[in-house]
């Protein structure tokens, strides 16, 4: 794993920690007040943890796929919940990580999936380049 990927992973890890901590507090204190928003918080936290692990282990094909799914889910999550929280505020009057496109977290949740997907595309190309010469040799 190259150095800049580690930077991405540490940012994911911090987001995972923030989301987990927050959803833990929300669920312990007042789950009944907003079951939907707080379940979503917990789900988001789990997906951030999964994405962090998948990025660390993305050298393996299975984890690479998990990384795509987890980060793609985050992207859809932040866009859908972000839009809904502005369009139908009543649905999300309790905060989640993704409310207002992650405004409470300096929009990091909005930017992160794009960086994550960019990196995954980038590494796939790198892997393909490593494989290609081998294929050429074998064909000759």
């Amino acid at each position: 794993m190259t150095g800049i990927a580690r930077v991405l992973v540490i940012v994911y890890a911090i987001m995972a920690m923030a989301a987990t901590g927050r959803s833990f507090v929300q669920i312990v204190r007042e789950f009944d007040a907003a079951p939907l928003a707080y379940s979503l918080s917990a789900l988001a936290a789990v997906v951030y943890i999964l994405a962090t692990l998948a990025l660390i282990l993305s050298a393996s094909r299975a984890w690479y796929l998990v990384a795509w799914v987890a980060i793609g889910f985050e992207l859809v999550g932040v866009l859908v919940v972000g839009t809904l929280s502005l369009a139908v505020p009543a649905l999300f009057d309790h905060p989640t990580v993704w409310s207002g496109f992650g405004a409470g977290y300096l929009w990091v949740p909005l930017v992160l999936p794009f960086l994550g997907l960019w990196w995954l595309t980038h590494t796939r190309n790198a892997v393909a380049e490593e494989i290609d010469p081998a294929l050429e040799r074998s064909s000759w």
Binding site: R6, A13, V25
Partner: protein, 122 residues
């Protein structure tokens, strides 16, 4: 929490964070300066743990959720060692950037902790 000590922590964490990111982007590997900066932040956070335990007994209790406060504080204490450990697995310029990001995350969390302790909007 104590306002001036919060400010000391914010200045230290922001200063070390920016310094590490600049050093890292300039191509420097982790050094005594950058790792020492993270150690300083950790030291201040440990002092903050002591303050958070003693302050309520001295008539300065948190006005917000103590649970939420402690989740932030414990996470913040874990960040500098985790950042340094993860950075040093591979010593490169990006390791220094990682330590800077960890320091800035601590700054945000200390700020949130101060808000939880003193300001209640709800």
């Amino acid at each position: 929490m104590i306002l001036w000590f919060t400010i000391v922590q914010l200045v230290a964490a922001c200063g070390v964070g920016l310094l590490c990111i600049v050093l890292g982007l300039a191509g420097r590997r982790p050094s005594d300066l950058s790792v020492g900066g993270l150690a300083l932040i950790l030291l201040l956070l440990i002092a903050q743990v002591v303050i958070a335990i003693v302050a309520p007994l001295a008539g300065n209790p948190p006005s917000g959720s103590a649970l939420e406060y402690w989740v932030y504080l414990v996470s913040a204490v874990l960040l500098p060692p985790a950042g340094v450990a993860w950075a040093l697995i591979e010593r490169s310029r990006w390791s220094t950037v990682i330590m800077g990001i960890a320091a800035l995350a601590v700054a945000v969390m200390v700020w949130r902790m101060h808000v939880i302790w003193t300001v209640q909007l709800a």
